[in-house]
Homo-oligomer: 555 residues x 2
């Protein structure tokens, strides 16, 4: 028989487990040491990383795959190191729980200068209020458990970060634990929903070229099956966005590609922009999603529904939410598209064969080679920069998983993200695509991966600096030190390392990595600094124009 | 003839140079690229680090030694990575200027989801308001230069961080540059100052055992000479605090030691706590300074003056500031101590000779060895943990410089700090003492040091984990992966590496490092996990009691 939790922190641990959490990422410190000890004696497993930043990114990746991820740190010197990774989770709707230790309430009398304190005792709380949908400092034992329920429910409801601050003398405070059943998700207003669905059905039925866009919330709220049900019932083709890439398998016969304005593939752009009824489900239209504003969408022809409300043409339904709206569409009486004019779908080219040549490897050929090995047993992680933009062009045929901070675009996500991803989905092996610049930020977390028996394959796209920036504005500030990435496994005492210059060497290194699934692999791929993927070229043209435009504007 | 700056950013660059800044630390990104290009064409030198966190710590160290340090980053994905290092600068009064790029004002129309945006366009500004004494987003060309003057003056006045956000379309906006002379420092109220000095002179004159404490503001405001003038005139002995260690040379005949309650040396504690008139100048009494509240100071017997006001016994003089107060003391008529009863001063032991033995090296012996090599051509940096607490016990005989985050105690400061320190003071060679846990956070910045021709000697105190925490609460979370630190120079392509187990090996490695002043050196010192310095033992006893007390309290 399950024992009842007796303390606030036991209750917190139990609740996290209820939500399916099995791992907690973090770095200990004296204000949170007791809680780490309680974690060690709990069913949750502590994964401590080299630096808190790594823990933040790992927990974010875990949250994206599991529905909830947790990072646990000490007061200020820990918490303030994960402001950026929490901001990323907020921007990209990842349900991340930040737990921070804090000075005990009994230590705060007369406002002393306790170590790690910045300005006031609530400085850290004030900062996290900017980055979360719910935040609490547990200053009372009585309602501690209710507060925990409220805050965790918000993370799950809004798929965004929440913050819990645990004063160390409350960690072991006994409490009466309500442990109510988990609160039901917020429902749409029934009348508003009916009206919105009626209107949507009218618009879809009279359209000749309807197109669906599956946004990231389809993945966050686990709506893939409903989405596909609607696709199958109506025959309406669909696209994804950079952030929601691979949410649905890309070898689906009705898949149009990843839509990103002029940054994406031309045929996808044509199909989406020529639609006379664009149904965007769970998408939020960021500048990267919109190809840095190269998208040409006619708002009068759009239907959009997300977790925070819905929109048709120029009017809003604030109380109609994605889950109900999509279910309503599935249940509605909509004629299949067969009687209407279907859009032209880009032909899915056959899986390319890759004949290695003994020539210097290029970005384009590297991605052709990768496409031949990616399968349903992999999770692909891409760091912003060439790695991410080239990866968006990849066709992921199998139900593989793709993770990238495609909106917030913070560098340094992918290597620590792979730790979170493989723990969240131990059936998948992480394939990490990361630039040399991003690797130097957080890449040493491969040692954390090795320590916990994980086996990411880390492909370092080594073009001697910040390759995304060179085409915009170049200078010495885009250069970085030339690490010998393939030697790092030796220096951290674990893993395989390869240095490759040619296609043949790359294919061999990749094969060796795939054959050894017990340790991490680092493959240092030397690329020409002027070699860019077509996607990056399209992107930097757009971004460079912005940089130059603002320079000109102010001259 | 000097040309007049024509744009807001040229004005900013000129003003920074006026304040003595020669280097700027940062990582570029598209919202700040143009400013990086302007920096590259300016007399300021850009030092780009592996990760923004490293730039933040490097700039903090530079600020401590130069009077102003600058870190320059891109919007959110850069700025939010340096929240912790900026918090440290705030907590420890370091005059750090944070410059962040931002989306152009012309890009913000209708509040689009631009990449890197978190919640609102001012999210980052709101966060930095919590951590700075002045913050501005330059949204108007007209008063841009005045804003720059206001904000930089605040950094210099309060010795705390300030924040400047540069929308990218204002970077090159032309402006009328007032370029007023730099504003004079804020002065004390003359009447209040006279009253406070009269009272102070009375108290000091009638005391039998007056003792001075030189706090960190003596260093921050460059008051060492005035302080020593007062010491020489009156014969009053002085102590420092952990944060202000080495502000004054420790071989001064009137130096009592570093005061830190029970955590410091017993003879220093006796001298300070038995004083009948304790004159604290520029000190702020943190818990670490107070030996985690083991200090026993009688407030009725204290005089305290700092940059934000003064205090005697239980009453305050809010408009009397340190610089004026100290000058007033120097000018006052105070009888030298010779006629009164002097305190017992701890005898300065002769510089120890170090005979190496072919035995496993211990913490205690390692510091004995270090004491024989530290001289006036070094800057010593210590990371929180064993490295810092053992270093506080070191006697620094020469006017060497000691830098450590002794109050905020954020791990990961020392290696990137060494970059800032050596650029600020190229006449000094950095000797870095860092635990293995802290090294894994930011230690790879040695590659930045190598890239810019710097030569820190990095001593990794390798005790297989978070040694400071083990005596408090131990568990698997205190273990870290076993890197082979001495192999890292090979992996980054520069520097010397040594792995040492014995005293002889350590002395040899240290000699080799000292003999090669062109590249960084990493010395991996294997220590027993249960070997602690006396200072750390005193500290963890005090901290462990706190952890246990709060556990008990709440049971």
């Amino acid at each position: 028989m399950e024992t009842q939790p007796k303390t606030v922190s036991e209750y917190l641990i139990r609740r996290l487990a209820d939500y399916g959490v099995e791992h907690i990422f973090g770095v200990p410190g004296d204000y949170v040491l007791q809680f780490f000890q309680q974690l060690e004696n709990s069913p949750l497993r502590v994964i401590n990383t080299c630096d808190e930043q790594g823990a933040g990114f790992a927990a974010d990746a875990y949250a994206r795959l599991r529905g909830l991820g947790v990072v646990c740190v000490t007061y200020c010197v820990g918490g303030l190191k994960i402001v950026n990774s929490t901001a990323q989770a907020f921007a990209e709707k990842s349900p991340l729980v930040v737990i921070s230790g804090a000075p005990g309430l009994s230590e705060r009398w007369r406002n002393p200068l306790l170590h790690h304190k910045v300005r006031d005792f609530d400085t850290q709380l004030q900062i996290f209020r900017q980055l979360t949908v719910a935040a609490t400092d547990l200053t009372e034992v009585e309602n501690g458990c209710c507060e925990i329920d409220r805050v965790l429910a918000a993370a799950v409801r809004y798929k965004r970060p929440v913050y819990i601050e645990l004063p160390r003398d409350l960690t072991t405070a006994t409490c009466s634990c309500p442990r109510d059943p988990m609160p039901p998700p917020e429902a749409s207003d029934p009348q508003a929903l009916r009206e919105a669905l009626d209107e949507a059905v009218r618009r879809i039925t009279r359209a000749c070229r309807p197109v669906l866009i599956a946004g990231i919330e389809i993945q966050r709220f686990g709506l893939q099956q409903s989405f596909l049900e609607f696709v199958h019932k109506t025959g309406i083709p669909f696209a994804t966005t950079p952030l929601s890439k691979s949410t649905l398998s890309e070898d689906h016969p009705l898949f149009l590609g990843v839509y990103a304005g002029a940054v994406g593939k031309e045929e996808t752009r044509q199909a989406v922009e020529n639609s006379d009824c664009l149904i965007m489900l769970g998408a939020f239209m960021t500048d990267v999603n919109l190809g840095i504003f190269t998208a040409r969408l006619d708002q009068a022809l759009t239907i959009s529904s997300a977790s925070d409300g819905s929109c048709m043409a120029f009017h809003r339904y604030p109380d109609v939410f994605l889950t109900d709206f999509l279910q309503g569409l599935c249940d509605a009486d909509i004629v299949a598209l067969s009687g209407r004019v279907p859009v032209d779908r880009p032909k899915l080219e056959p899986s390319p064969a890759f004949e290695t040549r003994d020539e210097p490897i290029t970005i384009r050929r590297l991605f052709v080679c990768l496409e031949t090995v990616i399968d349903g047993r992999m999770v692909l992680l891409a760091d912003p920069g060439e790695a991410m933009f080239a990866a968006i062009d990849l066709t992921i045929r199998h139900p593989a998983v793709f993770l990238a901070p495609a909106y917030y675009t913070s560098m340094g996500f992918a290597v620590p993200g792979a730790i979170g991803a493989q723990l969240a989905r131990p059936d998948l092996r992480p394939l990490v695509l990361v630039g040399d610049g991003a690797f130097q930020m957080t890449g040493m977390e491969i040692s954390t991966a090795a320590r916990f028996g994980l086996s990411p394959i880390v492909v370092v796209l080594n073009n001697s600096g910040y390759g995304t920036e060179r085409p915009m504005t170049d200078g010495g500030f885009n250069d970085i030190p030339a690490w010998r990435y393939s030697r790092l496994p030796e220096a951290i005492g674990s893993g395989l390392g390869f240095e490759v210059f040619t296609e043949t060497q790359f294919a061999e290194a990749l094969k060796a990595a795939l054959d050894n699934s017990l340790v991490p692999t680092v493959i240092d791929v030397h690329l020409d600094a002027n070699d860019h993927s077509p996607a990056l070229k399209r992107l930097t043209d757009a971004l460079g124009a912005k940089v130059r435009a603002s320079a000109k504007l102010s001259e």
